[in-house]
């Protein structure tokens, strides 16, 4: 009897254990989606979702510490997202779809605010009366959707043209001149493998490069009206750099930023399209181009160049229960002192125009050149349909650069699809 009693007890406890585990798991998942604002004694905690690692994360933590000192009633918790932009988007989408109130404040790539806004996931900032004139206009455009601002620029980025000052004494002012300069440089220095290096792989970067080329001919990446003569001209020129002018190697059809970086830093290219992160690398040990580089917007026939906008904005979760605290935090992150500190510590370019001053230049002189490129940034189409449009544009650009299609045929083929995607999602 004792034996069987024990056995049945064991049996029951096992059953209870299993039930408890299942229930526990159920409760745990049930809880996570309905998290309450953790407030104790008037202190609110906000969660800040960021992507950065290393120096960027350290800079973020330093800024958070400073903010908490200045605002003892607000605690900020760091919520680290994947460094891969599309993975980070997935993580955020899951939180949003689950209706979570956290994270409260979110670092968002400049291509996503419109998508979040149309879904009602992020807060329009109208009630806080944000002063957008302080920021570079290209990035302000990235947060504007349906006439309202849905985020604040945080740090900016742009694709411009790096060139070798020792091979190209005066920077080109037209695309044609860039070609002649590149050809001459290749003649002058036979060790030069390519005149122009750019990102032509089938990925997001090829669109950024196309935006730069568009500026050269007065075109624009308007999802509503893609098939314009200027856009066709720019696309033709982009293809011609490989097959007609032969200043860019066909290899660029598989190149991303790192390939362009390697080509330029090892002294193989006269011109290279890339982001300003190249500056500190060019001065680092092992670089073949120390003190021999400069950075300009892609030269333009119309005198109105454009540089593809990168960078990140700060947005507020529409379900955040602590919106006043969220806004306070964003303003702090956008203050000149924090922006400059971040630039110095992690190289992130301030979105705040006022940050470009003596203090910043003294530490990082290259920001003098960078400011001129940031001033002409152009965002990728600001529409919730952008991810879909991007996939279409990548396919189009890839087929043109691989010489599978003529630029005009590719544009005429893709423009209606892009327009219908744009129209379906509204503007």
């Amino acid at each position: 009897m004792i034996y069987s009693c024990k056995q049945s007890f064991r049996r029951r406890s096992a059953a209870i254990g299993i039930t408890a585990t299942i229930l526990g798991a159920g409760l745990a998942t049930g809880c996570s989606s309905s998290s309450q604002p953790a407030s104790s004694g008037g202190v609110v905690t906000i969660e800040f979702a960021t992507q950065g690692l290393g120096a960027e994360e350290a800079a973020t933590n330093a800024a958070i510490a400073g903010f908490e000192r200045a605002n003892p009633d607000i605690k900020v918790k760091d919520f680290v997202l994947s460094t891969n932009t599309s993975d980070a988007l997935q993580q955020l989408t899951q939180q949003f779809v689950a209706g979570s109130g956290t994270p409260d404040v979110i670092e968002s790539d400049v291509i996503y605010p419109a998508t979040f806004a149309q879904s009602g996931w992020i807060l329009p900032l109208t009630k806080f009366h944000p002063d957008m004139s302080k920021f570079f206009p290209g990035q302000v455009a990235s947060v504007e959707y349906n006439g309202q601002y849905y985020g604040m620029p945080w740090f900016t980025n742009a694709q411009g043209v790096f060139y070798r000052t020792d091979l190209v004494p005066t920077p080109p002012t037209t695309p044609q001149q860039l070609v002649t300069d590149a050809q001459q440089a290749m003649k002058k220095d036979p060790s030069l493998k390519e005149g122009l290096a750019f990102e032509g792989d089938k990925y997001e970067g090829v669109i950024c490069n196309y935006i730069d080329f568009l500026g050269g001919f007065g075109g624009s990446l308007n999802a509503n009206n893609l098939n314009t003569p200027a856009n066709a001209q720019a696309l033709q020129f982009m293809q011609d750099t490989i097959y007609k002018y032969k200043i860019a190697p066909a290899a660029v059809t598989g190149w991303q930023e790192s390939n362009v970086q390697n080509a330029f830093l090892s002294g193989q290219a006269a011109f290279a399209l890339n982001w300003p992160y190249i500056f500190p690398l060019a001065d680092a040990k092992g670089s073949a181009v120390q003190g021999k580089i400069a950075w300009i917007p892609f030269p333009s026939n119309t005198g109105q160049p454009q540089a593809a906008l990168g960078g990140d904005d700060l947005v507020i979760n529409a379900k955040s229960p602590n919106q006043a605290a969220d806004w306070k935090f964003i303003q702090y992150m956008d203050s000149a002192q924090v922006q400059i500190a971040r630039a110095v510590a992690a190289g992130d370019a301030p979105a705040l125009q006022a940050a470009y001053s003596g203090t910043l230049y003294a530490k990082l002189p290259y920001f003098r050149q960078a400011e001129k490129v940031f001033a002409v940034t152009a965002p990728r189409p600001v529409t919730p349909a952008y991810p879909k449009i991007s996939a279409e544009l990548q396919t189009m650009l890839s087929s043109v650069l691989a010489n599978q299609e003529t630029p005009q045929a590719a544009l005429s083929g893709t423009a209606p699809t892009v327009k219908s995607l744009f129209d379906a999602k509204g503007s």
Partner: protein
Amino acid sequence: MPADSRQPEHAAIATADDHDRRESSARGLAGDRRTPRSSGARRRADRSVGYLLVAPAVIALLAITGFPLVYNLWNSLHTVQLADPGAGHGFSGITNYKELFDEPGFSADLGHTLLFTAVSVTFEIVVGLALAVVLNKKFKGRGIVRAAILIPWAVPTVVSAMLWKTMVDPQDGLVNYVLRTLHLPGAGVTWSANAWASWAVVIAADAWKTIPLVAIILLAGLQIIPADVYEAAEVDGAGGWRTFWKITLPLLKPALMVALIFRTLGAFLVFDVIYILTGGGPGSSTETLGYLNWKAFIVNSDFGYGGAISVALVVLSLIIAFVYTRLLRPST
């Protein structure tokens, strides 16, 4: 290994023994304790304990495989646009499935997928078989070679695909360098700018990674072929090729079938190697169904259409598996 196959009776006896012992111990237990309960009740109680014990595993399995399958099927019949809550979650009938046929992308990608599957699986099986035959021979350092051959299989696909991408860079890559140095054709090829060249790289990268798996599966199959069959063939005067075609291949059928099903389904669902190497480019020449599915789910957040593609993939995979089991059924 051949020793095992010569002792089938022993195995059968052992199982019978086990069975007897279990029976007797059950009887003994009941007898010793002299409980008034019948052994039937006892057995029922045991069975319910059994059910209780397997319940967590069954529940976990249902939760992990059953639920997503059903949920995906449900999604495929509804409008599920994650990034566009305004579109609603209404029942959409077969709209998503109709889109499979209306969208030119699907049929084109189906063609690419079938082409890739046919070429890569053929290539992998042929080379894998050759490797397995070599590894089955006795030579010095065979153990090390057998272990080393698995290394490519152990490298994550993302890493090996990245490696291949670097190797086929026409300016700084190893492949063009070697071709150039040896004055072979193809030295000037820009792999990423040409559809066929891109396919060649994708197939090479996929084969490099999966041939070891095929070889190991087939090697295991070769090792259970008893040596006396070969001895008999030798006595009868059969040559190497004849032995291979008449003895090795037919006896290898079960292992071949495992390798074929594994590789065909793997190739049919290919995604990672293409995502890293070509992104479906140039243009959309190397897009496969797996890539299209990823695009629908992740890029477009369209779980309805993505679900429909998934269901189509499952159905097509089942057909392939069915055909294989029919074609290669062991002829007993």
